[in-house]
C-alpha cells in the first residue's frame, strides 16, 4: 500500500534531521548550535525550530566570530536570534589576537584560528553536544564523518577511532571533558539545501544572491575588500555582479560571478555548476590535499 504520506527526498532529509535534533535533546545536558548566519546554519536552526514546535528550541546558539564578517550576515544573524528569542554566545577570534593567545597568520586568513576559541567556548560553557552544519558532500574527509562524531578532551577528531554508526541508533555516550559534534545535515547535498530553502521559503542573508560589489582577483577567486585587507600591488579592484556560495571568514571566502538574483536562479546555477562550493570559494581548503582532514583532527568544525 502506498499512502499519501510517502516522503520524498527532501521530506526524508527533514525527518532525519528532526530525529537527530530530538535524540540530542533527549540524551545530552548542554547542547549548542553553531550559528554564523550562513545558509547551512540558518537551515540548521530552521530544522531545530520545526523539531520542537510549538516549544522554543531548547538550545542556545554559538558563533565563533573571526572578526572578518560580512555586515549583511551579522545583521541577519542578530535578526534571526531575536526573532526566535534565543540566546547567542559569541566567541571572538579578535579577543584572542588582542591578548596574544593567537597570532594573525601571514596570509591573513582567520578560519583556521577559529578552533581555539571554539574549544574554549565548549569547555567554559560545558557544552556536551555541538551541532554543526557540515555535510558529507562538501569534502572527502567530511565524507567519512559520522552524524554523531565523538571528540576527545582536546576536541580532536580521530578517524580511526570513530564508532560504527548503525541504523539510526546514535551512540552519544562520552566521558567527562569529551563532547560530541552532531551533523544533522550529513546526508544533504548543496542542491538539496537550496531546494529545501526554496520549498520552505527560508530567508537568507542578501549576499547569497547576485549583487554589485567591488572585488579583486587573487588565486582565481574574487575577494572583497574589508577590515581584513584589500588588494595588494598589482591586484585591481573592479565592480562585478557576484554572489557568495559559502560564507566564511571574509579574507578567504570568494564570491562567484553570477546573475542569480533569486532562489530559482540560484538552484539553476548550482545544478549547472562544474565546481564544488568549497573549491569555488574557499581558499582555506586549497592549502593541501588533506587540508580539511588536518583541521578536523585539530578540532575544527
Amino acid at each position: 500500500m502506498t499512502t499519501a504520506t510517502a516522503l520524498d527526498t527532501l521530506g526524508r532529509l527533514e525527518s532525519e534531521a528532526i530525529h537527530i535534533f530530538r535524540e540530542v535533546a533527549g540524551e545530552f545536558d548542554r547542547p549548542v548550535i553553531l550559528f554564523s548566519g550562513g545558509k547551512d546554519s540558518t537551515l540548521l536552526l530552521h530544522l531545530a525550530v520545526k523539531a520542537f514546535w510549538p516549544a522554543p528550541v531548547p538550545f542556545p546558539l554559538l558563533h565563533v566570530d573571526t572578526g572578518h564578517n560580512f555586515e549583511e550576515v551579522i545583521e541577519f544573524r542578530d535578526k534571526v536570534v531575536a526573532q526566535h528569542g534565543l540566546r547567542l554566545e559569541v566567541a571572538k577570534v579578535q579577543d584572542y589576537i588582542d591578548d596574544g593567545r593567537l597570532a594573525e597568520r601571514p596570509d591573513g586568513t582567520r578560519n583556521p584560528l577559529q578552533t581555539v576559541p571554539l574549544l574554549d567556548a565548549i569547555t567554559n560553557h560545558k557544552f556536551d553536544a555541538v551541532f554543526g552544519g557540515g555535510r558529507r558532500d562538501e569534502e572527502r574527509a567530511r565524507a567519512k564523518e559520522r552524524i554523531f562524531s565523538l571528540r576527545n578532551a582536546f576536541g580532536q577528531w580521530e578517524p580511526r577511532r570513530q564508532r560504527p554508526e548503525l541504523w539510526n541508533l546514535y551512540n552519544g555516550r562520552h566521558r567527562p571533558g569529551e563532547h560530541v559534534r552532531v551533523f544533522p545535515l550529513s546526508n544533504w547535498t548543496e542542491l538539496d539545501v537550496w531546494h529545501y530553502i526554496a520549498r520552505e521559503g527560508i530567508e537568507l542573508p542578501s549576499i547569497y544572491y547576485a549583487h554589485r560589489r567591488e572585488v579583486y582577483l587573487r588565486d582565481g577567486m574574487w575577494l572583497a575588500e574589508g577590515p581584513w585587507g584589500g588588494p595588494r600591488d598589482g591586484e585591481e579592484k573592479v565592480e562585478k555582479t557576484v554572489r557568495y556560495r559559502t560564507v566564511g571568514d571574509g579574507s578567504c571566502t570568494g564570491a562567484v560571478e553570477s546573475d542569480a538574483a533569486d532562489i530559482s536562479a540560484v538552484i539553476a546555477e548550482v545544478a549547472a555548476s562544474r565546481l564544488t562550493e568549497r573549491g569555488a570559494t574557499r581558499a582555506d581548503d586549497r592549502l593541501s590535499e588533506a587540508a580539511m582532514e588536518d583541521r578536523k583532527r585539530e578540532g575544527y568544525f
Binding site: T3, S15, P54, P164, L166, N187
Partner: protein, 447 residues
Amino acid sequence: MSDLLRLATAGSVDDGKSTLVGRLLYDTKSVLADTLDAVHRASADRGLTTPDLSLLVDGLRSEREQGITIDVAYRYFATPKRSFVLADTPGHVQYTRNTVTGASTAQLGVLLVDARKGVIEQTRRHAAVLALLGVPRLVLAVNKIDLVDFDEVTFSRIAKEFTAHATALGYAEDAVVEIPVSALAGDNVVERSTRTPWYDGPTLLEHLESVPVDADAHDAPFRFPVQYVIRPRTPEHPDYRGYAGQVAAGTVRVGDEIAVLPAGLRSAVTGIDTADGPLQEAAAGQSVTLLLAHDLDISRGDLIATAAQPPTVTDEFEATVCWLSEKALTPGARVLVKHGTRTVQAIVTELRTRFDEQKLASTEAPDSLSLNEIGQVAVRTAEPIPVDDYTKDRRTGAFLVIDAADGSTLAAGLVGAPLPEVDGVDSCTEGGDAALPDTHALVSPGP
C-alpha cells in the same frame, strides 16, 4: 517509485571497489571540475598516466598513502531518475564492522568480485552479512571482465554460483542481479559496453535507477519510540503535552488505539502534530508529535505501539550480535543495550553459537566472540523492553551493545536468530522464526 535509493558496496581488497564507485561518480558527472583537477594532479604526483578514480573516494591521508579504503564513506549522486546515497564499505581490515555499518541502512547491496577469481570466501561472507542485516536486494558486479577477454562463459559460471549462494541465504532469484563490468575502462557501469555483446541485461546504473525500492514498512504494525516530550508551557500553549518521535514502522491515524510500553498503558491518538500543521495520519519515516487522550506518565524511552499488535515485552531474549570491538565478548558480560530510544543495563548470559567467518561454519557454545565475529547469544535486561523480531521489523528489532565503562559501541544486535544457513552448514540451531520464548513474556497488553 521512490526517488531515493540507499545502497552499500562491499568487496575484498583489490577488487577495484573504489575505482567502481569513482567510475559511477565520474560517468554520472557527479564529480565537479575542481575535484577532478585535484585527482589529476594527485595521480600525476604518483606517476600515473591516467587518473586514478579511486582517489575520488579515498578521503583520508592514510588511505591515499596506502592505496586502501579504511572507513565507510558516504557518497551522494543523482541522475534525472533518482538520488542515491552510497555507503562505500571497505573490504579488508574490520570488514564486518564496516559492512555491517553500511548494510544497516541499505536497500540494496553491491558486491564486487574479480572476474579472474570469481566468487571467493569473502564474497560469501559479505553476502551473508548483507542477508543477516536484511538488505533486500543484491547486485554482483563481476569486475575486470576485460582481463578475462570479456568471456561469456566465465561470467555465466560466476553468476550461476553467486545466485545459488544468494538463494541459499534466502534471496529470491529476482532480488539478485549479476552484471559484467570493467570499472577501470567503464564497461557496463554507466555506458553500455560494445565488448560484451552477449550481455543483454542492464548496466549497473540502469539497474540502480530502475530496481524497485522496498517501501518503508507502512503496512507493518505501528511502532513509535518516544524521543522527547514537548511541553512549551507558553501563554499560547499552557497545557500542551506532545510525544515527539519518528514513526519506526507502520502507520498511525487520529483515533487509533495505542499501547504505551513497557508499562502496558492504553490510550488513543487525538492528534498528530507537525510544525507545518496537523496530520490525519503518519507513516514509517515521518517525524511527528503525537497527542494522546489521557494524561499518562510517558517519557523518552517508552514505545507507543498499536494496541492491536503490540511487540513482545520481555527482559530475556535471544539475539544475533555482530561483534565490532577489539574487546572480546565472554559469557556473563555486563553491557548496555540501546534499543529504540531506551538504554538499559544488560547481561549477555550465554553464547550459543559462533558463526565462523573464515570457515562459514558455526561452533556451539563458544568461549568468546571476537572482533568481526557473529554469533547467537542470550540477553537478560535489567528492565523489560518491547522487542520485535529483526526479520519482521528492521527498526524495532535492532539494538546497540554499548560498553558501560567507556561508552564505545561493542556490537550490532538483532533480536531473534536471523542468521541464515550458509552452504548447508548448520549455522543456526534455532528455527527460522527464532521466536521469543513465550515463557519470558511479561506483559502482553493485547485486547
